[in-house]
């Protein structure tokens, strides 16, 4: 059995809401509220959810780009939630992130050489020639050419920029890469190129991904296991076949039924949820989903369901399955 690369226990990230003339804390937004999961070496764990559910915050909290409020994060068996910033910087060599917006995540004033060279320099590759060699190698790996090294981000298309972002993340041979919506800003034909590239890189360099996205079809294609997030918590987590064929949580069911299928012969029975996502500053009591759930019971308004393993490897937080 593959080793656990990352373990997350009861991770929480609350943002303070300040207000009033004294700018005191008047409340908090529970962006990530008690999340636990593990990631095995070499697997792709997908995290899917709608905007505002806290999936990006979770990704950043794992890398401690945002300081978690509480919880334990173990990377290769070592608790990294309390280590010093300096130690964390060294650890981040093994943990990298690819961002959603290829237009905003690259400095427009830097050349590709500087952008990809930065992480190499930070982690101690001091010689320019050595760096340049590695950058050229990286560019080839992600499907660009060595002569792109002296260009600026604006000279590239969206897909090519995302490739630069990927090259930067791979520069120091990371073990874990968090992909935060890496393809959602891209067109379909380019999206498939990047998805294929990410898969090839995984196989070639034995990478582990946490793949954050809102697109369920993309998720199904790339992930091994998928977690569904709603309002700061994971409501269901299972192997993708189980999750897509036998979803247990009503939210997962609704989400899956809402994806339009590009096939005129498929008669879709869309479960249309009522209303909008409640505010994470004032989440509903009990199960956070009960306000929109078509199967809500009286207990759902009172007690928050536990996130439990109902079948082997199939975790769900719902009173229907208790």
């Amino acid at each position: 059995m593959a080793k656990q690369l990352l373990e997350v226990h009861q991770l929480k990230k609350y943002f303070d809401v300040k207000g009033g003339i004294l700018n005191r804390k008047v409340g908090e937004i529970k962006a990530v509220d008690d999340i636990s999961f593990t990631v095995k070496e070499g697997e792709i764990l997908g995290i899917v959810g709608e905007s505002g559910c806290g999936k990006s915050t979770m990704g950043k909290a794992i890398l401690r780009l945002l300081e978690p409020t509480s919880g334990v994060i173990k990377f290769q068996g070592k608790d990294i939630s309390q280590v010093s910033d300096e130690e964390m910087r060294i650890l981040r060599r093994d943990m990298q992130i690819i961002f959603q917006d290829p237009y905003a995540s690259l400095n427009p004033r830097h050349t590709v050489e500087k952008i990809i060279g930065e992480p190499l320099l930070v982690h101690g590759m001091d010689y320019v020639d050595q760096r340049r060699e590695r950058i050229k190698e990286l560019l080839e790996i992600v499907g660009l050419s060595a002569y792109h090294i002296s260009r600026y981000p604006h000279q590239f298309s969206g897909g090519q920029r995302q490739r630069i972002g990927i090259a930067r993340a791979l520069a120091n041979h990371p073990k874990l890469v968090i992909c935060d919506e890496p393809v959602s800003a891209l067109d379909v034909s380019v999206q498939s190129q990047i998805l294929n590239l990410l898969e090839e890189l995984r196989d070639e360099f034995q990478l582990t991904y946490i793949f954050i996205a809102h697109d369920l079809s993309v998720m199904k294609h790339i992930s091994d296991r998928v977690g569904v997030m709603y309002l700061g918590t994971i409501v269901e987590l299972a192997h993708k076949d189980q999750l897509y064929e036998q979803p247990k949580h009503p939210y997962t069911e609704a989400l899956l039924s809402a994806v339009p299928v590009p096939d005129p012969d498929v008669e879709q029975e869309t479960i249309v949820l009522k209303g909008d996502l409640p505010s994470p500053a004032d989440p509903p009591r009990g199960c956070t989903f009960h306000t929109r759930c078509p199967k809500a019971m009286s207990i759902c308004q009172e007690v928050r369901p536990d996130f439990k393993e109902k079948e082997e490897g199939h975790f769900v937080a719902c009173h229907l399955h208790n």
């Binding site: 709608e50 067109d187 379909v188 498939s192 190129q193 339009p260 299928v261 096939d263 249309v272």
Partner: protein, 345 residues
């Protein structure tokens, strides 16, 4: 035919920039019939939004200019209309909703204020009470809860999905003959997208409004549309019914696009991807615009512009593979595929 609502004939919209003339929309023709939902599909930069803006004559000018073609709306050429005449068409006969519900509403006025303004715009004599009542009715029709309260709310108090529904309510309040929806659900989450699509379908059925739906999502097209127009680099490359396009695409680009979509219902090992990227469109481009990325491309594709070939029924496809008459052995399609001439630029 009398039931034709919109007919575009060889519409060309060019942009005149410092880098030269850019044919963003190049001889685009299609029709929308009464009560029909037509989808325009393509990737960013293919000219689908400029096409819709051209219909409304909202293309920023300069640099944009409609240089050629006709747009017939219920038999009358919109391009011959004066700006004043056009203003009576916009909103009243043809309404439009945009992708960004955040930026389409004025943040300084209440929802009700903006809706009543839209109603008054076209029927100035309406009494305040009457306009208000109509606005609230429209808000209820698009499924917004507490419509009377929302009337006094400001846009920032609403979520993205609610704002898009307000936009739809506003667009539908003048009972237009044609609704142009430019990526109406792209900025929304799937569950909210499902709500909005359901409302658009309901309005289409109840009011028999024709809809021109511009999107890049083939799933959305499959749910709503009767016919599809596929655009690539400013041109129409394929046209047909929804079933024809999705089940049996003829143009290599359409085929590639459909295969690039990860499917929810299938388990594919590796995704198909079209090599390369969309070319920069410039004036005087010769040959098929898809040729550099096409796996079937041969000599002729690089030398001449393929016309739209009419296939069985009313299908159209812009590809020399369909030119049966000028194949090497008289059977162009079969010959080309078997010889599989590949040309990579």
């Amino acid at each position: 035919m009398s039931d034709v609502i919109l007919q575009m004939k060889e519409l060309s919209t060019h942009f005149f920039t410092d880098d030269g003339e850019i044919p963003a929309v190049d001889r685009v023709s299609f029709t929308v019939h009464k009560g029909e939902v037509v989808g325009v599909v393509g990737e960013s930069g293919c000219g689908k939004s400029v096409t819709s803006l051209s219909i409304m004559q909202l293309v920023p000018s300069p640099p944009g200019k409609i240089v050629h073609g006709n747009i017939y709306f219920k038999g009358k050429d919109l391009l011959k209309y004066s700006e004043k005449q056009m203003r009576t068409v916009r909103g009243k006969d043809i309404a439009m909703i945009f992708q960004e519900p955040m930026t389409s509403l004025n943040p300084l006025f209440t929802i009700g204020n903006q809706m009543v303004e839209a109603i008054w715009m076209h029927e100035r004599k309406k009494k305040r009470q009457q306009a208000r009542r109509e606005a609230v009715e429209m808000l209820e029709l698009v499924g917004l809860p507490r419509a009377a309260d929302l009337f006094n709310a400001y846009p920032h108090q609403l979520s993205g999905g609610m704002r898009q529904r307000v936009m739809i309510a506003m667009a539908m309040s003048s009972q237009p003959d044609l609704l142009i929806a430019d990526e109406p659900t792209t900025a929304l989450d799937v569950t909210i997208q499902a709500q909005v699509l359901q409302i658009m379908e309901k309005l289409h059925i109840e009011k028999n409004t024709s809809i021109l739906l511009i999107t890049h999502d083939l799933g959305v097209v499959a749910q709503l549309c009767d016919r599809v127009v596929v655009m690539y680099a400013g041109q129409v490359v394929e046209q047909g019914t929804i079933r024809e396009i999705l089940k049996d695409p003829q143009h290599p680009y359409t085929r590639g696009l459909i295969r690039s979509f990860p499917k929810l219902t299938e388990n594919e090992q590796k995704l198909y991807s079209i090599p390369g990227t969309v070319p920069k469109i410039t004036a005087g481009i010769v040959g098929c615009r898809f040729a550099p990325r096409c796996e079937f491309a041969f000599e002729r594709c690089l030398q001449a512009d393929p016309p739209l070939f009419t296939l069985e029924g009313r299908r159209l496809s812009r590809c020399f593979l369909h030119d049966v008459e000028r194949g090497e052995d008289g059977d162009g399609q079969a010959t080309v595929r078997s010889s599989s001439v590949k040309k990579i630029l």
